[in-house]
């Protein structure tokens, strides 16, 4: 268990002024573009733009509705991701790799395309509505409803949340579960009193992540949502782009970002404390109490059934759009629809003939790798810093880290662009990579911190007394032990970079072309099967790549389990 060496809190280990300095620098780095956005939102008198917003009753309603959709989405996402993560965490290597592979490659099909897949899947003639009619459930297609938006968002968020939670299932978790079993804890007690509390940090991370992304969602509600379901970022976007009202857009962005940060702070304050308080344990115990009357066998079978059912549902939710995308790439006509009149490789020929796709792919890969490395390192440093800063400073740093996701990309992109163009970074690949790193920072931080939070410092102490310098400790001890979290952070940041459009739009200028950007721009004018072709390609390429990556680094949790000795 190694907690003994860790029992004596060691101020000299890994408590480095460097972390605090970095955190301060990062805060400034994030604050500058935000300050630009704030300055855009200043009218005369300074509050006039905000006052105008508050005079419009629909604005408050839009923000509240956005937050509500985000909360519901995050809750469903985490509710589905937890059983999936448990299934992955406790299954054999082979199955674990297969599942992780599925969830990881799902992310490498651009979300824009998957969003279009949902338009087809949820529409009048899609399979979902066919199923509904078959089951004679009243109502209409999910397309154009808030429920459709939530489903689409859950689909988009499941892979990342699964990866975050899976990375937190460690040998320690498994050992504690078997100890609990030895003391007579049945499946319900084990889950509620041991598994759940030990996974809380990662669940909080996953929930916060899902909430932030859902609250800032643009593509999903734009494609799948209806009129009343128009969410905050869409309104911001409309003001900034279609209505030429940058000032209102800026003010609304600041307002929304503040609301999101407040909500996240509330989530973390409610559940994020390191040790579960007696109160919450008592609550979990009272939940477990009635379950204890059920026979463990029945309960175990029921739990397994529930887990398998939810996992299967999650797999379907993640995989079906991918299948749809591949199918659409063979649609003979120029529309995004399931091919019903024969198949055609017309779009493959078109894409392969166009060298700009290949060029864009290379640029995307370069930017993605740099961004993922930057975001993950920064996320790690922030996680370290928040661990040792005073709680109040840690809150500020955490807010700054999450701000790039909380601030709508349109406005953050504008702010970033203003700063970047002053220092000559606008329109360069590095500038874009930097922007992507910022965009990915929140998720990288959340993924890494889920690991760092429960990392047992005693390994560092052991290494230190054996003579390892901080750098040696980082490379030889922390990195390998935290590898699951680092891989999760890298993969997730790569995904963010891969899908990022809006900030890229500004930072890329007229010179840099990424795949996502290329798709986005052609989708505005003609959203055809051509879009599905690179996705189908990427599914294969990233699929193979991820297989190699996971084989290389092992899976988030190692196999060989030795229950309880030492």
């Amino acid at each position: 268990m190694g907690t003994l060496a860790g029992s004596l809190s060691a101020p000299t280990i890994e408590r480095h002024r460097g972390y605090a300095v970095f955190a301060a620098g990062l805060c400034v780095f994030v604050a500058l573009p935000l300050a630009t956005v704030v300055s855009l939102s200043i009218g005369s008198p300074w509050y006039s733009i905000y006052a105008r917003l508050f005079e419009r009753p629909e604005i408050i309603r839009i923000i509240l509705r956005t937050l509500l959709v985000a909360v519901i989405t995050a809750a469903i996402t985490v509710g589905l991701a937890l059983p999936v993560a448990l299934t992955i965490g406790f299954s054999s290597t082979r199955r674990r790799l297969a599942l992780l592979w599925l969830f990881a490659i799902a992310g490498f099909s651009p979300f824009l395309v998957r969003g279009y897949a949902f338009v087809g899947l949820l529409g009048e003639h899609g399979p979902v509505d066919a199923l509904r009619r078959l089951l004679q459930i009243s109502g209409g297609p999910l397309l154009g409803t808030a429920a459709g938006v939530v489903v689409t968002l859950v689909h988009a968020l499941i892979p990342a949340t699964v990866i975050i939670i899976t990375a937190a299932i460690s040998d320690d978790t498994k050992r504690q579960i078997s100890v609990a079993a030895a003391f007579g804890a049945g499946p319900a007690d084990r889950f509620l009193l041991v598994t759940l509390p030990t996974l809380i940090p990662s669940l909080v991370s996953a929930f916060a992540f899902a909430f932030i992304i859902a609250a800032g969602a643009f593509t999903a509600p734009s494609l799948v949502g209806g009129g009343r379901e128009t969410l905050a970022v869409q309104v911001i976007y409309m003001h900034a782009i279609d209505l030429d009202d940058l000032k209102s857009a800026a003010a609304l962005s600041i307002l929304l970002a503040l609301c999101i940060l407040l909500c996240v702070a509330a989530i973390i304050a409610a559940f994020g404390s390191k040790r579960s308080r007696p109160g919450s344990l008592r609550r979990l115990r009272s939940v477990a109490a009635p379950l204890r009357r059920v026979s463990p066998r029945v309960l175990g079978a029921g739990g397994t059934f529930l887990r398998v059912a939810l996992t299967s549902f999650a797999i379907i939710l993640v995989a079906v759009p991918l299948v749809y995308v591949v199918a659409v790439s063979f649609q003979p006509q120029d529309m995004l629809a399931f091919p019903t009149d024969g198949l055609s490789v017309r779009w493959y020929r078109q894409v392969l003939a166009d060298s700009s796709w290949l060029h864009a792919a290379a640029v995307t890969a370069r930017i993605g790798i740099v961004a993922a490395l930057l975001a993950t390192s920064a996320g790690y440093l922030v996680a370290q810093a928040t661990r040792q800063l005073r709680p109040s400073s840690a809150r500020v740093v955490r807010a700054a880290t999450i701000a790039p996701a909380a601030a709508p990309a349109v406005m953050f992109g504008v702010g970033l662009y203003v700063i970047a163009s002053r220092i000559g970074l606008a329109g360069t690949e590095f500038g874009v990579a930097l922007a992507h790193a910022l965009a990915a920072l929140p998720i990288a931080y959340l993924a890494v911190s889920a690991g760092v939070e429960r990392y047992d410092d005693s390994f560092d102490r052991a290494a230190a007394v054996l003579g390892a310098s901080p750098a040696a400790r980082l490379i030889a001890i922390r990195l390998p032990i935290l590898m699951p979290s680092f891989v999760a952070a890298l993969v997730l940041s790569l995904l963010v970079s891969f899908d990022e459009v809006i900030m890229t739009l500004f930072m890329a200028g007229t010179d840099v072309q990424t795949i996502a950007l290329r798709m986005w721009s052609s989708a505005i004018h003609s959203a055809g099967p051509e879009l599905a072709v690179p996705s189908a390609f990427l599914l294969v390429v990233t699929g193979l790549g991820m297989l190699i990556l996971f084989a290389q680094f092992g899976s988030p949790t190692d196999l060989t389990k030795r229950n309880t000795n030492g």
Partner: protein
Amino acid sequence: SFSPRSSADKRELVIVGYGGSYGDALRSAVIVPFQRESNVTVRYDETCCARVGPTLEAGGFAGDLVVGVDYGGLLSWAQKGFLLGDARLTRLSRNRGIPERYRYPGTLVNTEYAYVMAAHGKDAKLPTSWSEFWNFHRYPGRRALIRATPVGQLEAALLADGVAPAKLYPLDVERALKKLDKLRDSVPVLFANSPADLVNLIARGDASYAIAFSNRLEAAKHDGLPVAFTYAEGLRTGNGFGMLKGARNADAAIEFLEYASRPDVAARFAALAGLQLAKPDDVQSPATARADSSQVTVSPSYWAQHRSAVGEQWVRWLVH
């Protein structure tokens, strides 16, 4: 290449426009032959146009020319000072016979498209007027609108409500929205994210009828998609070029515009892109469109002036 591209290349022209079929048409009908005839290298940036406004507001370089933008949008940019009122451009605009209603410094608006009624199915029964579009008994089924801007859709609602085309402007926004309420209360309404999505919704049959963009429908029809549409009471909108503030290569831009507005080139492009030429006496625009005298022109000046205010009302209506 992680370094800024040098801007010293004098003979490079950066054009910002849309991708997809519009971009393809522009490239094949205009850009490629132009590059053959001149020594200008054109870089066509397909990311129009979200970046342009904010970038210019921030004082950055967004490109030399912008293409495919509605005249209303161009006007509002011009009024914000985002366009470069080059005298040569004004002269060119006059020389090419651009109608008076589409002339403004810094712009060249030689094409038009229209907001029209579209339906799912190659041989679908089409409404003949906007008030028919609101007749849910005769034309049952979902309607698709576009979410981003109210332009065209408010006009359609007012025409359906019986407002005379001549009395359309200034728009009675409240009345238009009430008419749209009737639509939304009677049939399910889908809101598309982009013109392209509108076509997909109609082609797949997710929506039975839509207020859609004629140029996109022309292309869809050309591709054999199951859509039908009519230019009846179509709401015509000018669409064209603007010279952007901070243009690095104004000379090449003028050269390009001279080429693009050459009658043969313009006609070739318009045909490919499904647009109509803005010249009233043009012969090569799609026959149906020209023949339909019921078309109404969307007022550029009205929208240049009221875009934000009406937009706010539109947002309120959307979410209420």
